[in-house]
Symmetry: C2
Subunit: 369 residues, 2 copies
């Protein structure tokens, strides 16, 4: 028969006290948290019950006598006992952790999303594993099959990560609950904006201001299923079409969603034979760069070129930037809630209908238009 080596040293007689050997190491230092880590077995011995009972009591499961539960709680408290999350995970198969993947960490948008997610997870005592999935190779490693998050998290939230259909299928097979932000895939729950109408509204605002030569400051070339730039583009074009404005290809330029990119793009636009009188930037950060370039050339918005951005970045108000406001933290929070919901659902994840949330946006008119 199996011989419980470790336990053997502990006397059954010890009742409402922790095993002698371990307590000794703690001594009577009062405040200090013991360097020794007690196990569930220590608690069981000290409380005079079985480990199973301790486990139940600590997790508020039914079928534990109130007095027993209290006893266990007291002992655990006294011993500063905390369940080892790793052991718990191994035995129960739950990690109480969600993995979050973002394309960049130090962009305003991503930081806000993560903040929104974290706040919600914290309420449920879930941990957050953070991954920057910056390029193609990182993405495919993360997504296909067993990324680092695998078996370390119950759910994964993809923030503006573009997936190919095949990758999506693999992810769906991974056993984790998946929620996407910014993209929408057949298999997963998602939260996104009504990109098209938001972009259309921004563009219509410019048109209403009398502009007919409007440039589009876009993001990078697309990969996978990251459709955000496409949708915004579509809204932009529809607005033009409705106003019967002819589209000039030269006025479409990429700014890579960055400040620097916006600056470069604006420079290019201004050097055109016939520069635009207005610019719709797909992100506020690109708009900042554009404003900067205007300023450098002694020009200003809206006098020389009107500008509308997208996001309502914390700093946009200072620039007086007209923009489309979105509540990024709320988006993160919503995604986190979906993730928690799927995790707590029992049964095969693929049997549940993906949930879809469209977060509202609002045109904020300021001075640059």
């Amino acid at each position: 028969m199996k011989q419980p080596t470790r336990t053997k040293t502990r006397s059954k007689a010890v009742q409402s006290k922790a095993p002698k050997s371990k307590i000794a190491q703690t001594s009577d230092q009062g405040l200090r948290v013991p360097a020794t880590n007690f196990t569930i077995e220590d608690v069981a011995n000290a409380a005079g019950v079985s480990v199973a009972t301790v486990s139940r009591a600590l997790r508020d499961l039914p079928n534990v006598a109130p007095s027993t539960r209290q006893k266990v709680l007291d002992v655990a408290q006294e011993l500063h006992y905390v369940v080892d999350p790793t052991a718990s995970r191994l035995a129960a198969g739950k990690t109480r952790t969600v993995a979050v993947a973002v394309p960049v960490l130090d962009a305003w948008y991503c930081a806000k999303v993560v903040a929104g997610i974290e706040a919600v997870l914290k309420e449920s005592d879930f941990d957050l594993l953070l991954y920057a999935v910056t390029n193609e190779s990182e993405r495919s490693r993360f997504v296909a099959g067993r990324g680092a998050w695998w078996r370390r998290s119950d759910a994964v939230i993809l923030v503006d990560i573009c997936l190919f259909e095949e990758e999506a299928m693999r992810l769906a097979d991974s056993g984790a609950a998946v929620v996407t932000i910014g993209t929408e895939l057949a298999q997963f729950s998602s939260v996104r904006l009504d990109e098209m109408n938001s972009a259309r509204e921004a563009t219509e605002h410019l048109i209403a201001g009398g502009h007919r030569r409007i440039a589009l400051l876009k993001g990078d070339p697309l990969v996978g299923q990251f459709r955000v730039p496409l949708y915004r583009e579509q809204g932009f074009f529809e607005a033009l079409a409705d106003a019967e404005i002819e589209w000039v290809p030269d006025l479409q330029i990429s700014g890579g969603f960055s400040i620097d990119g916006g600056r470069e793009a604006m420079r290019a636009l201004l050097s055109l034979d016939e520069p635009p009188t207005a610019v719709f930037a797909m992100s506020d950060e690109m708009a900042f760069g554009a404003l900067h370039e205007l300023q450098r050339q002694g020009l200003s918005a809206p006098d020389d070129v009107a500008i509308v951005g997208f996001d309502d970045h914390d700093i946009s108000e200072i620039f007086g930037l007209t923009t489309i406001r979105q509540d990024v933290e709320a988006i993160g929070a919503a995604a986190a809630r979906m993730a928690l919901a799927s995790v707590s659902r029992t049964g095969d994840q693929s049997l549940f209908e993906p949930e879809r949330v469209v977060s509202p946006t609002k045109l904020i008119v300021r001075r640059t238009s």
Copy 2:
């Protein structure tokens, strides 16, 4: 005798193939990653060796015949086998994870630090658990004893988290390697700026510009051992003293390190009977707020009030803000490297001398001064 229920179904005869039952579920779908998760035992069976050998082979341990190792590697590859990190942690006691605690997630500074940390951890295949430790109660829960990170991470990096001596001692006892950013504690390795001299340089720059009525835009009231504001303050005062400028208490005001706070503070300063002619803001974001308020009142920098910030935020250049530049990502990266170094060190952590890095800063003169 112990009866291996699960294993029993697998025939010993199966040699260089995975157990029939599991393979069957995968079928011959080619690309799809099998829904079934293989275990080390499956690999062992398929390779015709013991689990111990698989474990050794996979971790590049010595005492494995080259041919055996290759065999194991091949089989593992074929089965898409990936070690379960949880089980591995439980058995080996290493998590390959570091916990990062920041006071806020959506501040420019914190996002950059986290980005720096993440980039380094990724290189070593370490995961990053992210925690926002916003208030006193969260801090004490995180730090004292067994926070959520406990036993889930080998190291913890505290970003501008203020600790009381007692809390630091508990943390030191926790068994995790600890690195602090922004603060310096006796027990832990740290990376910080030369706050005092940086602040002094900023102030001296203002004084050199002829200013004698200089306001100080500080952070919040202090808690624990978060000394950054104190050090910057000290540098500021020393510069004043050196120039024999008398200090006016009214000119010292808190802006909570936020844009809004900076705006409020500037408003208060401007409503003074004798407003300052210059402001040293302890962060660029507060400086942005201050600039905004100036602008609102039809004033500008440096004509009406000169402003110097601290950080060199991505957007500072656009505002033409004179500031103290720090390389925040590098700071995060340095801290991460220290954390990895301590983790890989064997033996009692407390026996090692804490490492201390002071990251350089630089005064960037622009238009606001």
